[in-house]
């Protein structure tokens, strides 16, 4: 199996603090890879480097055997890697279509001017939200009026609208109700069925063992284990998270 993403000695330092320390990791196509670790282990920094919102101090990231344009989120999104951040990264005062298309707006020509095609963006957003079976009655209201589940749906819609090949999700089920959580889990399974590679960061061991194919444990910025789900246990992973060492 050839990896779709490979990191080679990926490192991020903030002054004297090494948040991510020389991580070598392969992410395989069409798999769900869960990245787990304690608070401050370096999980979010690791995926932020893949998504381009954080520039590595050293090391490289290969995507389909080519170097990823480090620190360029838009270029990375154009390559087919979408990220759903823990805070969902939504502009609270913009509406649903504006958020889904932010940074990649659609245009039309009007009197020779290149203006936003708001009708197109609204229609496409509606289709996406309907496909996820999430009820958002007014797409043209600011995001801040939406519930947690609705916001999550907007964030996921933004990622999958662009036919991403890789979707990175940072704590996708955090702060969701039982029903909304199940919807998100079903959606992740749907994405896998469609051949999308998914990387999730989660603290919820039950969720991780329910959907992941492979589990990566990060401890103090280092990758201490990569386990196939069927060949490990919750206890072993918990021990790795806490001590950085296997049972």
């Amino acid at each position: 199996m050839t990896p779709i993403i490979s990191t080679k000695k990926l490192t991020k330092k903030y002054g004297g603090l090494t948040a991510v320390n020389e991580i070598d990791l392969d992410i395989f196509s069409s798999e769900i890879t869960a990245i787990v670790g304690g608070n401050g282990a370096g999980k979010s920094t690791f995926i932020e480097m893949i998504s381009g919102s954080c520039i590595p101090t050293s090391g490289i990231i290969l995507y389909k055997d080519k170097s990823l344009p480090l620190g360029d989120p838009l270029a990375i999104r154009h390559l087919g890697i979408e990220t759903i951040y823990q805070d969902l990264s939504l502009a609270e005062l913009l509406d649903v279509p504006d958020n889904i298309f932010l940074g990649r707006e659609k245009f039309k020509r009007k009197l020779g001017l290149k203006v936003l095609d708001k009708k197109f963006m609204y229609t496409e957003s509606k289709k996406m939200i309907d496909k996820l079976k999430i009820d958002i009655p007014f797409l043209d209201r600011p995001i801040r009026f939406l519930s947690g589940g609705q916001r999550q749906a907007v964030s996921i819609s933004r990622a999958i609208y662009w036919n991403a090949e890789v979707i990175i999700m940072d704590e996708p089920t955090a702060a969701l109700g039982i029903q909304e959580k199940q919807q998100v889990m079903d959606l992740i399974r749907d994405l896998k069925a469609k051949g999308v590679t998914t990387i999730i960061i989660s603290h919820e061991m039950q969720d991780v063992f329910e959907i992941a194919d492979r589990i990566v444990v990060i401890f103090h910025g280092q990758c201490v284990a990569v386990k196939e789900k069927n060949k490990t246990t919750i206890e072993e992973i918990a021990n790795l998270i806490i001590t950085g060492q296997g049972a």
Partner: protein
């Protein structure tokens, strides 16, 4: 039940659209109480009195939506005005044609504006200096530079064509006698000059044209959308692929460019340049933007709101003068309107009902 919902909806509309209702209320009040207030001439005067604030306010709208503030606009306007006036004067004295002199002077004034905007933008976007501090520094620098440039005196002795163009109207009309466009006929007797109706100032048309263009930029283009996004959250904007630093740089350039346009406008209107030309307009332009519904936290606001805010300030200034109220009370009136505006804004967004 329906009537309750209906009244809530009306309350919401009143709270959100209060500036336009308040402007209409002011116009009605002064029309009833002030002699001669309700006239074409006076309404044109109100608009002309509001145009400098509006010009500065257009640029300020972009800055405030992006979550920043620009305190340097007033003295950027003054600096541009003295630069434009002195270059026009000096070139004309060198026998350069007035048309070329004015054109070169406008260009120089606008370049000064863009340069100040670049410095402000660089400090804010690249060196992470808080906008308040960066533009406060530029406030002093632009003021000092304008005073040094002008020697502390207004710059006059400019070609007549300048003020003539700046104070020209589209239509001149003597009821039942004649109608003329762009200029008055030469042979109008002095006794009839007071009866000539002057309609639609050219300078107002110029400002309205620019305002409509900037409205389109803000509401219909990617640049405008990204301005709102940067104001909502710089990290969200960055993750969405928006180059936040370059965007902020452009926004501060726009603000200073409009301040420079204010200086150009002043020189045309008054036929002279003055370092203090925009001193009073800085706070009024911020007030216009805030009264118009923009939040100083960023992410909201629009140019139509700024127009209404500027007209409210202009109407208050002229209306109170016509009522014979001491000019000092204008400051109190404008201050009260700003506070009331922000409270209405909080109420309409339900922020006051949130628990701490």
């Amino acid at each position: 039940m329906q009537s309750v919902i209906g009244s809530l909806e009306i309350n919401n509309i009143l709270l959100r659209r209060w500036p336009i209702f308040f402007l209409l209320l002011l116009l009605c009040f002064f029309s009833i109480t002030g002699t001669g207030f309700f006239s074409l001439e006076n309404f044109q005067d109100i608009f002309l009195a509001s145009t400098s604030v509006l010009l500065l306010g257009i640029g300020m709208t972009f800055v405030i939506i992006s979550g920043g503030i620009d305190l340097s606009v007033g003295f950027t306007m003054g600096f541009s005005a003295v630069v434009m006036a002195s270059i026009t004067r000096d070139l004309t004295l060198q026998n350069v044609s007035p048309f070329i002199s004015i054109l070169l002077a406008i260009l120089a004034a606008l370049i000064i504006g863009i340069f100040i905007g670049l410095v402000n933008g660089y400090l804010v976007a690249f060196l992470k200096v808080p906008p308040f501090i960066a533009t406060l520094g530029m406030y002093g620098i632009a003021h000092g530079a304008a005073l040094i440039w002008s020697g502390g005196f207004p710059v006059g002795n400019l070609p007549d064509i300048l003020a003539s163009l700046g104070n020209r109207y589209l239509i001149y009309y003597l009821p039942q006698e004649w109608i003329s466009f762009l200029s008055m006929p030469d042979n109008v007797p002095h006794s009839e000059l007071r009866n000539v109706v002057r309609a639609i100032p050219l300078s107002a048309l110029f400002v309205i044209g620019i305002m409509i263009f900037m409205m389109i930029v803000l509401s219909k283009t990617r640049f405008g959308k990204h301005t709102y996004a940067v104001g909502c959250s710089q990290s969200v904007a960055r993750r969405s692929g928006i180059n936040v630093k370059h965007h902020l740089l452009k926004i501060y350039c726009i603000s200073s460019l409009f301040a420079a346009l204010g200086g150009v406008y002043y020189t045309f209107r008054y036929g002279s340049g003055n370092a203090e030309a925009g001193a009073a307009h800085m706070l009024n332009s911020i007030a216009a933007v805030v009264i118009g519904g923009a939040s100083l936290y960023g992410g909201t606001g629009n140019i139509m709101g700024t127009l209404i805010g500027a007209l409210i300030i202009g109407t208050l200034q002229i209306g109170l003068v016509m009522l014979g109220v001491q000019p000092f009370y204008q400051y109190i009136a404008i201050g009260v309107v700003i506070v009331v505006g922000v409270v209405f804004d909080q109420l309409s967004q339900g922020k006051l009902s949130e628990t701490d």
